[in-house]
């Protein structure tokens, strides 16, 4: 529950500021109506591409900042502590239709956004002096929020998809500190890996 309160709920409240925000979102039936609050930008796909490129360009720096801030043994044991072995990470199929790819992208970004919120919360407590890391985490989360909004807009305006079921990463609030650091590192390693694929796919 803590992860919902700290990371996911604010994210969803921002994105879906209406009644029922925060509950799992099923894919809207094809014939259901989907209305966006504001008209989508005409050049939406370009914006999505640019946001993915922007995230991809900063992912490695974020990863390095993170594991450096954790101290030893993280920088010298990336294969054991930061390998991208994230369970339940949403899949992505680059050869799917644009609609399918956008839906998968939405799930991935929602997953990453929530995880990033948890990491940011943890790091502010565990490493309060790592200001550059905090700044980078916040900047990445901001871009993800924008990207999520754009993807949803695109899904809604073109494919009439208003709701997508999403899954979130493991809750780290009950974990011990070392485990929190390790999970965060694994997630950012996974993020670095998957964002490159996404940037290539769009």
């Amino acid at each position: 529950m803590k992860v919902l309160a700290a990371g996911v709920v604010p994210l969803l409240l921002v994105l879906h500021w209406k009644h029922g925000a925060g509950s799992p979102l099923p894919i809207t039936p094809v014939n259901a109506t989907c209305v966006t609050r504001h008209p989508c930008h005409s050049n939406l796909m370009n914006q999505i591409k640019n946001q993915l490129v922007q995230l991809n360009s900063s992912a490695n720096a974020l990863f390095i900042l993170y594991y450096t801030a954790q101290g030893e043994p993280f920088p010298n044991n990336l294969d054991k502590l930061c390998s991208p072995n994230v369970t339940d990470f949403p899949p992505f199929h680059a050869n799917g239709t644009e609609k399918a790819r956008l839906v998968e992208l939405y799930r991935i970004i929602a997953y990453l956004g929530a995880s990033l919120g948890n990491i940011t919360r943890d790091q502010k407590i565990l490493n309060p002096n790592a200001l550059s890391l905090h700044s980078k985490l916040n900047a990445t989360a901001d871009i993800m929020r924008g990207l999520l909004s754009n993807v949803l807009c695109r899904l809604c305006s073109k494919y009439h998809v208003g709701h997508v079921e999403v899954a979130y990463g493991p809750d780290t609030s009950g974990k011990d500190v070392f485990q929190k650091k390790k999970l965060g590192c694994q997630l950012l390693g996974k993020y670095k890996q998957v964002i490159a694929v996404l940037a290539q796919a769009f």
Partner: protein, 971 residues
């Protein structure tokens, strides 16, 4: 014996019966045994929590019981802890007990059992332990996840310096697991194939974010964060005080901050024992305590510092009125500020009924406390500050404390003020220098600026009043604006009294008086020498007259740009040491000692000169060499000033580099600093600045050096001057040869003049027609060019070739061909310029040169010029073109310079006009005659067209060709 056997049997039976009873009692369960034992784990605290009940207690029954608890590790037989826990037990009570394990509970399995004993006085003895409960197994590893490797304890908080036990638990038995703490490997003990234990002794604080401890195998890594905090200290300097008797402000020094990230920080609470009130403090260093309105006077406050590991307390007991720390005063003002006084006013905050405060007033000037006074104050007060200096900035401050029970001063509060100006309090220190020039005295007055303490403000100007003592009515006033420190006066031979005063905006200082006597005083004081030391110049003198008001020593360096300095001395003083930071080594200082008479007239007593420190001369004199003979030369350095050197010149050394082993008489051999050997001559008189070096060898080469020597050394041995000694007869030769050369030159000049005269008389120069005055006559004519003759305007000339067939033979140098090979049947005319195209007539002038050709002159012809011609007739036509003609002529001319005898083959130059005069009509071409205006010209030279052909000089050949260009005439 039988009795003994009976007694023994009876004792045994009794004992047996007792044992039987006892065994029956023990075998039955006691009614108050612990039951429902439950064991749980708190991983964060690493504690085992036990809870149980005691049944069979009646309602409202309370028994004091003792519970014995055993804890085993790994196996039940391995008991590691036994503890008796005494507690009064009531009906249906759930009992709790906890135990903290040093080894993380997740590392191994623990077993717990318990039994009880009634220790209540209401239950008669004997008392027996109940049976043990069954072993309760505590296996935390069962609840671990699926990870292959675990490290425990997680996120443990310990104090710095404590010992920590950690372990790793591996899912599979592995031997190649290594562990480290912050990159430093740690070594442990294996408890089981899957578990190893590490004991970390005396752990130190590394950082607030914890210490990383991790274990890894080839494929996995796991770790923990160990939080090591500083040891919580007892608060130091705990103190409480009040400013208004309404609240207490308690402060303390918390010592080390034990706060760690991810862990709660230390807390502070205040507890007052009389009122029983407690307050949780919000800050780590201070806390406010509200004073009770019930006039509680005595307080017993306890400050407790607490964190997760430790708790410390400190208490103070005090009377509230003895802890009054007033607030700093306010409304501090200064009024009635004058040059020496000011009044300071201020107010204080009331402190309950204790309104009498003791205030301290401090006056600061120039960074230090000048005055300090204590004043009793109710609410408002003032203090009169006196004995201040004019025009001085002061800071006055005030602070207050409780008058009855002093505890602490309040903070200072202050104001800055500046006193007003006042008239200067002291006369300026004045001295003078007098020079007598042409019946008048030039008096230079010097004065030192008044010190700040005497000036009492900014000095605006100095008044100089000159009073003629011989004419009392004659007074002159000079006003000299500041910051001048002197002036120059020109006075006549009368006696004068000079008053000098300094003036600021408020008033005038007392006057400083100097009298200039008409008598200049003792002029014949000889100058003595004085040697300075590190302490200065020590001077002493003998008083000449007993009636003096003081002495003055003045001094000045040799450098005239530096100003005169002086020192005033008491009338009883006969010696002094002159010290000055301005004294420099190598500078000569001149001292004069004056006595000041009661009439304020200064009389010179002594003159001294000396150096603070003598330095060796840095330069040698510029030496001039004169009177150079074959055996001697003179050296002179008269421009060398002995007074302006860096030490007293004692004499000079003349060094001469010897040509032989022996030095000249008077010289002595010395070894210089560069190990060279020189002959040295010593001149003891510093004013002797000439020296004659004698006994030299003619035609030789000498090197010399003149350097001054002093008490601290001589001048530098720099470059020697070279002198070459002439031979013995050179001067004689010069005396003979020079007149001879002069006579010879005179003779040559005479000869030349004579030859010129002869030339003018016998064969004068041919005048240059271009320089003739005739040219000026023709300027008015239409001819635009001041020429002799223009070919365009004239009938072309022709060269008449007179071929003498007597076999005369002209050898042409260039063609190696004889003219006799050419056959001419009639005189051939060589047209220098084409006649057919001749058109415009023009004026021509012919000048007759009688020196040119006698034959031509005789015949009256002005144009016959002998020209050698080698061009064959067949080529004549080619010559009609100007270019060919030129080429031909050039060749001919060159060949003609070979000099064939005149008369054998003659080329006559025939001008158009001359042909008429000569009467040689047959030889003339059929060309029409030239214009009548054309003048006749006969020249003696050939003239080139100005092209590349060389032009022969006028005298180079007897044969000449006149070649007239069609264009611009050239000579």
């Amino acid at each position: 014996m039988a009795l003994f056997a009976v007694v023994q049997a009876a004792f045994l039976l009794t004992l047996l019966s007792f044992r039987t009873y006892q065994s029956e009692v023990l075998s039955e369960p006691l009614p108050w045994t612990p039951e429902s034992l439950e064991v749980s784990i708190n991983s964060a605290q690493q504690c085992l929590y036990l809870q149980w009940r005691v049944h069979n207690l009646t309602h409202h029954q309370e028994l004091k019981m003792v519970f014995q608890i055993e804890i085993s590790r790994i196996e039940t037989s391995n008991v590691i802890w036994v503890e008796n826990y005494s507690i009064p037990v009531t009906w249906n009570q759930v009992l709790h007990w906890s135990w903290e394990s040093k080894l993380p509970l997740e590392c191994v399995t623990h077993f717990v059992r318990i039994r009880s004993l009634v220790a209540d006085a209401s239950i008669p003895e004997p008392r027996f332990w109940s049976n043990w409960s069954s072993w309760e197994e505590v296996d935390a590893q069962k609840s671990l996840g699926q990870d292959p490797l675990f490290v425990f304890p997680k996120d443990k908080l310990v104090e710095e310096g404590s010992n920590v036990t950690i372990c790793y638990v591996s899912r599979s038995p592995e031997s190649n697991i290594s562990c480290a703490m912050e990159d430093v490997p740690i070594h442990g003990k294996r408890l089981s194939p899957n578990v190893s234990v590490f004991i970390l002794n005396d752990v130190r604080f590394i950082r607030e974010t914890g210490t990383n401890i991790y274990c890894l195998n080839p494929s996995n890594m796991s770790g923990i964060i160990l939080y090591v905090s500083k040891v919580l200290e007892e608060p130091k300097d705990f103190s409480c005080e009040t400013q208004d008797l309404k609240s207490l402000n308690c402060t303390w020094d918390p010592g080390h901050d034990t706060t760690l990230r991810h862990q709660s920080s230390q807390r502070y609470t205040l507890f007052e024992s009389f009122s029983g009130k407690t307050k949780l403090c919000e800050h780590k260093k201070w806390c406010h305590w509200q004073v009770a309105p019930d006039s509680q006077e005595t307080y017993n406050l306890t400050l407790t510092a607490e964190n997760q590991l430790r708790r410390r307390s400190v208490s103070i007991l005090f009377n509230l009125t003895h802890r009054v720390h007033p607030m700093k005063p306010f409304n501090v003002f200064l009024k009635s500020i004058s040059a020496t006084n000011a009044t300071m006013t201020w107010k204080v905050h009331p402190v309950g009924n204790y309104s009498t405060l003791l205030c301290q007033v401090a006056l600061h000037g120039e960074g230090k406390v000048i005055q300090q006074h204590n004043v009793s104050v109710k609410v408002k007060s003032q203090y009169f500050l006196s004995e201040l200096e004019p025009v001085t900035e002061y800071v006055t401050r005030v602070r207050c404390a409780a008058a009855n029970h002093f505890w602490k001063w309040s903070e200072w509060i202050g104001q800055t003020f500046t006193t007003l100006e006042a008239a200067p309090s002291e006369a300026p220190d004045v001295w003078r220098n007098v020079k007598s020039v042409l019946g008048s005295h030039i008096v230079t007055l010097f004065w030192r600026p008044l010190s700040k303490s005497h000036a009492h403000g900014k000095i605006l100007f100095y008044n100089v009043v000159i009073e003629n003592l011989d004419k009392p009515s004659s007074v002159k006033l000079l006003s000299i604006p500041a910051p001048a420190n002197g002036t120059e006066l020109t006075l006549d031979q009368c006696s004068y009294q000079i008053h000098v005063t300094a003036n600021n905006s408020v008033g005038t200082s007392p006057a400083s008086i100097i009298v200039i006597s008409r008598d200049p005083g003792n002029k014949n004081v000889e100058e003595g020498r004085i040697q300075g030391t590190e302490d200065g110049f020590s001077l002493s003198w003998k008083p000449q007259s007993g009636d003096v008001i003081g002495y003055v020593v003045d001094w000045y360096p040799q450098d005239p740009r530096c100003q005169l300095q002086w020192k005033n001395l008491d009338p009883n003083t006969t010696s002094t040491v002159i010290r000055s930071d301005a004294f420099r080594p190598g500078i000569r200082y001149n001292f004069r000692i004056y006595e000041i008479s009661t009439e304020r007239i200064a009389y010179l007593l002594e003159k001294k000169t000396g150096y603070a420190q003598e330095l060796a001369p840095s330069e040698n004199p510029q030496v001039a060499v004169s009177n150079l003979t074959s055996h001697s030369f003179s050296l002179s350095w008269k421009d060398y000033s002995t007074d302006s050197q860096s030490s007293f010149i004692q004499g000079y050394h003349v060094y001469l580099k010897p040509k032989e082993e022996q030095c000249h008489p008077g010289f002595e051999k010395v070894v210089l600093s560069d190990d060279s050997v020189c002959c040295q001559y010593k001149i003891d008189n510093p004013e002797q600045k000439t020296f004659v070096v004698e006994n030299l060898q003619p035609e030789s080469f000498y090197e010399f050096l003149v350097t001054p020597y002093t008490s601290v050394g001589e001048g530098p041995h720099d470059a020697f001057t070279k002198v070459t000694i002439p031979d013995e007869y050179s001067h004689v030769l010069i005396r003979i040869i020079l007149p001879m050369i002069f006579c010879l030159l005179l003779l040559m000049v005479l000869c030349y003049l004579t030859s010129q005269w002869m030339k003018e008389k016998c064969y004068p120069d041919i005048p240059d027609p271009y320089k003739s005055s005739v040219l000026s006559l023709i300027k008015y004519k239409e001819n635009h060019h001041p020429t002799i003759m223009n070919v365009n305007d004239c009938v072309p000339d022709a060269i008449e070739v007179v071929n003498k067939l007597e076999g005369s033979k002209i050898q042409f140098l260039g063609a190696r061909k004889s003219l006799t090979e050419m056959e001419f049947t009639k005189p051939a005319y060589l047209y220098l310029l084409p006649t057919e195209n001749y058109s415009g007539p023009g004026p021509c002038i012919c000048f007759e040169n009688f020196t040119y050709n006698q034959a031509a002159s005789d015949s009256g012809s002005c144009g016959h010029v002998p020209v050698l011609l080698k061009t064959p007739p067949s080529q004549l036509a080619l010559l009609t073109s100007p270019e060919n003609l030129l080429k031909t002529l050039e060749q001919n001319y060159v060949n003609s310079s070979g000099g064939s005898p005149a008369g054998e083959t003659s080329l006559n130059y025939v001008s158009q006009l001359a042909s008429h005069m000569s009467g040689d009509k047959d030889s003339l071409p059929t060309n029409p005659p030239g214009p009548a205006l054309c003048s006749e010209y006969r020249t003696q030279m050939a003239v080139s067209l100005g092209l590349a052909s060389p032009s022969p000089s006028e005298n180079s050949s007897l044969s000449s060709v006149t070649l007239l260009d069609q264009g611009e005439p050239r000579r």
